[in-house]
């Protein structure tokens, strides 16, 4: 067979080269494939754990769920701040979502006017991608279900059920509890608990004032997470309920406040401005802390409009201010209790008499009293609140001793009651004068009489006056006020665990008796402070009428007349019952006029609620009938007789102790 006319060796040489090189080529291809296999082994066998994690973090997102905020309750467990369900409508910026169009569609189901739409479009454009923005809150169930039904056709739209804070008593506790509000940019810190991603959740609220702010972290709880499968666009594909992390509810905070007493305080203040603080004068628990006028904290949760906020901020009665702790006022005649105690401590004879002729010349000027009280001793001067007596008494003691005594009763002091905003006020002495007025560092004798009647530099807040009167009433302990009873079931330190008061007990007894005289006979508040609870339950007190402006110039207006801003501040400090004090309180009516007519009746009404709520006091008031004699007969010794039922007031809020004759 003839081979083609080609040089044989040529052909064979070419073939040989090809075969050798093809062999090498095959080997290289094999090596390349082997390298791929090696890389696969590295990725899929050695590093698979790492990539599994990355894959899972791609596939699953944890959607943060805000935790239910802890409740705030009063001493009996009455809920003062809780949470209610809230149907929300949310829109998130997503790829390919036409926000204006979506809002137009939504406006068919929920009220969304054009102005609001424009506002929302800006909000949504400014928010990070896929972070939902709240379009509407508190939808009705019909709106909620209508939106939920259509949500799949509306990308970026979701409707969910969140929780919103609710304060069932509106304004009664607004200053103490404060309120929560939306997180603003300035609330978010780079580190710490306020840096957490839950802060960005549209349903999350943080405490902005009062207990809500001070115990925000306790109340906040820990956010839960909802495990959702997402695609590369971040759209939720599927939920995985088994992977959910449940949210932990915030701790419950129990206050020492009593809702009934607090609500009564809110009622009695009406439109007046002022504050009332009541303490249990055995434990130091603050049963009432009310500042008038108040505001509805629920409005803050939603977010106030500018007009609403301005109305609150610009009102001259200052509703946003907690006057019980944040504002200080001259204590007026209530301070005479301190002057008397300081005098007694310095060896003053309480039988010392001074004559009051309504005016008194001393130091080259005329000093006034509101009326001519005649000849009076110390007790009488407290009862009638005679200024001329106390000008002279104060001059006898001197400012430093008065100030030292006042400080023993907590005046000028800030107490740790848990909520911020306390102002210490001022109890002046000669050192203060030296420190503060370098041009006039001397305490002039003429400044002492003013101090003796609670005017001049002296400025105190209602909480301090309540501490003062509760320490007088207690007679033993240096009580501290306590507002937070327990956090998450853990009790806070009791207000009576702070040691004893370093004051002569006989002197305290003297002052208590003098305060009792204030509410009897010719005392300043004899009519106004009558509790009407029978002869056994009486209230002792001390009135105070403090000039708000121009004490030295005398341009102010006495009584409830004249321009409101110029009127006197009305004070009343009191405790009850007299023999066995249980409750002490201070009431301030800002620019209220006379202490006896403006403050004392309000104190009386609030005190009545506290007393009537106290089962022991009730028992004393109601005096159950003595038990009928047990019928005795033969063989009755081993038979337990049926006791007739003790009469029980059906309106009684608490059970009475059974069968204790008084």
């Amino acid at each position: 067979m003839a081979e083609p006319a080609i040089f044989f060796e040529e052909v064979n040489e070419r073939q040989g080269v090809f075969h050798r090189r093809a062999f090498v080529l095959g080997g290289m291809a094999g090596l390349g494939l082997l390298a791929l296999g090696g890389r696969l082994a590295q990725l899929q066998l050695l590093e698979t754990a790492r990539y599994e994690k990355l894959s899972a973090s791609n596939q699953f997102n944890f959607k943060l769920m805000p935790p239910p905020r802890g409740l705030i309750v009063d001493r009996d467990g009455v809920v003062l701040a809780s949470n209610r369900p809230n149907f929300r409508l949310l829109v998130a910026r997503e790829k390919g979502v036409d926000v204006p169009g979506t809002l137009k569609t939504l406006a068919e189901f929920v009220p969304l006017d054009d102005k609001r739409q424009v506002h929302l479009i800006r909000d949504i454009d400014n928010s990070p991608r896929r972070t939902p923005v709240e379009v509407m809150e508190d939808m009705s169930w019909e709106q909620f279900s209508a939106i939920n039904l259509r949500a799949p056709e509306l990308p970026g739209v979701s409707a969910d059920m969140g929780e919103v804070r609710v304060y069932p008593y509106g304004g009664a506790f607004a200053h103490v509890i404060g309120y929560v509000a939306k997180v603003t940019k300035s609330d978010i810190t780079p580190t710490g608990p306020n840096s957490e991603p839950i802060m960005l959740n549209p349903g999350f609220r943080i405490g902005k004032s009062g207990v809500e702010k001070a115990f925000d972290l306790d109340l906040r709880g820990s956010p839960g997470a909802k495990k959702v499968e997402v695609d590369a666009e971040g759209r939720e594909v599927r939920e995985d309920p088994q992977g959910d992390i449940p949210a932990i509810t915030g701790k419950e905070i129990k206050l020492t406040l009593d809702a009934d007493i607090q609500l009564r305080a809110e009622q009695v203040f009406g439109d007046e401005s002022g504050a009332a603080v009541m303490m249990d004068c055995r434990s130091g628990d603050i049963l009432c802390m009310f500042s008038a006028p108040s505001f509805d904290a629920n409005r803050f949760v939603r977010g106030l409009t500018t007009a609403e906020y301005r109305a609150l901020a610009e009102y001259d009665h200052k509703p946003l201010f907690n006057k019980a702790i944040t504002a200080t006022y001259p204590p007026g005649s209530t301070f005479k209790t301190m002057v008397a105690l300081a005098a007694l401590d310095a060896g003053y004879d309480p039988a010392t008499t001074h004559v009051c002729n309504k005016t008194w010349f001393w130091g080259g000027r005329v000093w006034h009293c509101d009326q001519a009280h005649g000849v009076q001793d110390l007790r009488g001067a407290i009862a009638t609140s005679c200024d001329i007596y106390f000008y002279q008494c104060a001059l006898w003691v001197g400012p430093d001793k008065i100030a030292a005594m006042a400080r023993k009763f907590g005046l000028g002091q800030v107490f740790d009651i848990g909520i911020p905003g306390q102002k210490p006020g001022l109890v002046p002495d000669t050192a203060y004068k030296r420190r503060t007025f370098p041009k006039d560092p001397v305490w002039h004798p003429g400044e002492t009489p003013s101090m003796g009647i609670g005017q001049g530099y002296t400025h105190l807040n209602p909480l301090q006056l309540c501490v003062q009167v509760s320490r007088i009433a207690n007679g033993q302990r240096a009580l501290h006020p306590r507002l937070i009873q327990s956090i998450g079931g853990v009790n806070e330190k009791s207000g009576s665990a702070w040691g004893d008061l370093d004051v002569n007990k006989a002197h305290l007894q003297f002052v208590r008796e003098a305060m009792a005289a204030v509410t009897t006979g010719n005392g300043t508040a004899a009519a106004e402070a009558d509790l009407g609870l029978g002869p056994d339950i009486k209230m002792a007190g001390k009135t105070g009428t403090a000039q708000a402006v121009g004490y030295h110039g005398g341009t102010g207006a006495h009584g409830a007349v004249g321009q409101w801003k110029l009127r006197d501040h009305a004070w009343f400090i009191c405790f009850a019952p007299i023999g066995n004090p249980r409750y002490a309180m201070s009431v301030l009516v800002e620019h209220g006029g006379w202490g006896a007519s403006a403050a004392a009746p309000r104190a009386r009404e609030i005190m009545r609620v506290a007393l009537l709520k106290d089962p022991e006091i009730r028992a004393q008031i109601e005096k159950p009938l003595p038990l009928p004699p047990v019928p005795t007969g033969p063989g009755s010794g081993d038979v337990v007789p049926d006791l007739p039922p003790t009469p029980v007031d059906p309106n009684s809020p608490v059970g009475l102790p059974q069968g204790t004759p008084t």
Partner: protein, 384 residues
């Protein structure tokens, strides 16, 4: 009726004999790979034949028939058509440069009625044929080192330049490397090979910095430092590596690959189909597929080895080189070993163009096998 060099030429031309000479194991292996592609495309469409699995499988059946048909075409016909095919491809490349359609910023195809013609694909086969045609007529010495080698160099560089200008750097490099390997197989002097390799090393850095388009340079820099921008340019590679790595030994299970099913994996049905397979079938699945590819390469190279004509050898080897480069480049790309270049995994990836090129190429390989004893005249002895 086995065929040998001594079999009567007339006997070898009978259809039944030709059919029996087709490497059916090779064909079966191709079917396995294509089937694996179909299975994956069914999975990532959410267990649906549409939009990818059904068209791909129909296409494969048609192209498989075409491949068998081409396998029966006499090698002398291939030989005679070598330069014409190359010429048509070259003209179309020029045409595409003038009137081609834009896709993603690149001019790659011509629209002829309902058919899209991608001249660079024709060129892949055309160049192999033309080079084989040249070397068939060249003596060993000429192939080693002579001025005549300027002709194959021109055959390679002209289309490479045109394709690179489209710009389709991946295909240009593929053509360049295929041509280079065919020249080496043709017997190129080691001196030239060494000089070429050194030259390439010297030319690459400046070419990268000044000769590349912005996105091409970006891809390359991303490859060199993939962690620099995971959400941007490094995203593709990172997601692909996550898909691969999270597959583990046995994979997440069919239809359960979260990376591909939830669209984290880009181009999951085309360039990154291998990652999808790796995620759902794991290391075992990947190695199985790679072994199938290795078998294809081995069988195709063996066909080149046993061919009697130099044209047949080089043509089969050239097609094999193209195929192997596809597999290696795509594999390296999805595993984060090479920059992202638009090179699909042949037969596995969705897409008709590359499948057509590969199947036509394997038609040529099978033709070489069927006609391994046939005499192809050297020089100008054209059949037609």
């Amino acid at each position: 009726m086995t065929v040998s060099a001594l079999t009567r030429p007339g006997e070898r031309d009978r259809l039944i004999v030709k059919l029996s000479e087709i490497d059916w194991i090779f064909c079966f292996t191709l079917c396995l790979i294509a089937a694996a592609g179909g299975v994956m495309q069914f999975s990532i469409a959410g267990s649906s034949w549409m939009p990818w699995a059904a068209p791909q499988m129909i296409r494969f059946v048609i192209f498989f028939g075409l491949m068998i048909g081409l396998a029966l075409v006499d090698l002398r016909v291939w030989f005679a058509l070598a330069y014409p095919i190359y010429g048509v491809g070259f003209l179309l490349l020029i045409a595409v440069d003038l009137v081609g359609h834009h896709a993603l910023g690149a001019q790659r195809w011509l629209q002829a009625g309902p058919i899209q013609i991608q001249p660079s694909e024709i060129m892949k086969i055309g160049l192999v044929l033309a080079l084989a045609r040249f070397y068939h007529g060249a003596s060993g010495k000429t192939a080693q080192l002579s001025w005549w080698l300027l002709w194959p160099a021109f055959l390679i560089l002209a289309p490479v330049a045109l394709v690179a200008k489209q710009p389709d750097l991946g295909t240009a490099l593929l053509i360049l490397m295929t041509g280079g390997v065919v020249m080496i197989l043709g017997g190129l002097s080691w001196k030239i090979i060494t000089a070429g390799v050194l030259g390439a090393i010297a030319v690459i850095p400046p070419a990268v910095m000044f000769g590349l388009h912005g996105y091409q340079r970006q891809r390359l820099l991303t490859f060199l430092n993939p962690d620099a921008d995971l959400s941007g340019a490094g995203y593709h590679i990172q997601q692909s590596k996550i898909a691969l790595g999270s597959g583990g030994l046995l994979g997440k299970g069919y239809g359960l690959g979260s990376q591909s099913q939830l669209n984290f994996l880009p181009e999951k049905q085309t360039d990154f189909i291998f990652s999808t397979l790796a995620e759902e079938f794991g290391f075992v699945g990947c190695v199985s597929i790679l072994l199938l590819y290795a078998a294809i390469i081995f069988m195709a190279l063996r066909t080149a080895y046993i061919a009697h004509s130099h044209f047949g050898r080089l043509a089969a080897a050239g097609v094999t080189v193209t195929f192997a480069l596809y597999v290696l480049i795509n594999g390296a790309m999805v595993m984060g070993l090479a920059p992202v270049v638009g090179v699909p995994m042949p037969l596995l990836s969705y897409g008709g163009t590359v499948m057509l090129t590969v199947m036509v190429g394997f038609g040529l390989v099978l033709a070489v096998r069927v006609h391994r004893y046939s005499e192809v005249t050297s020089g100008k002895g054209a059949l037609l």
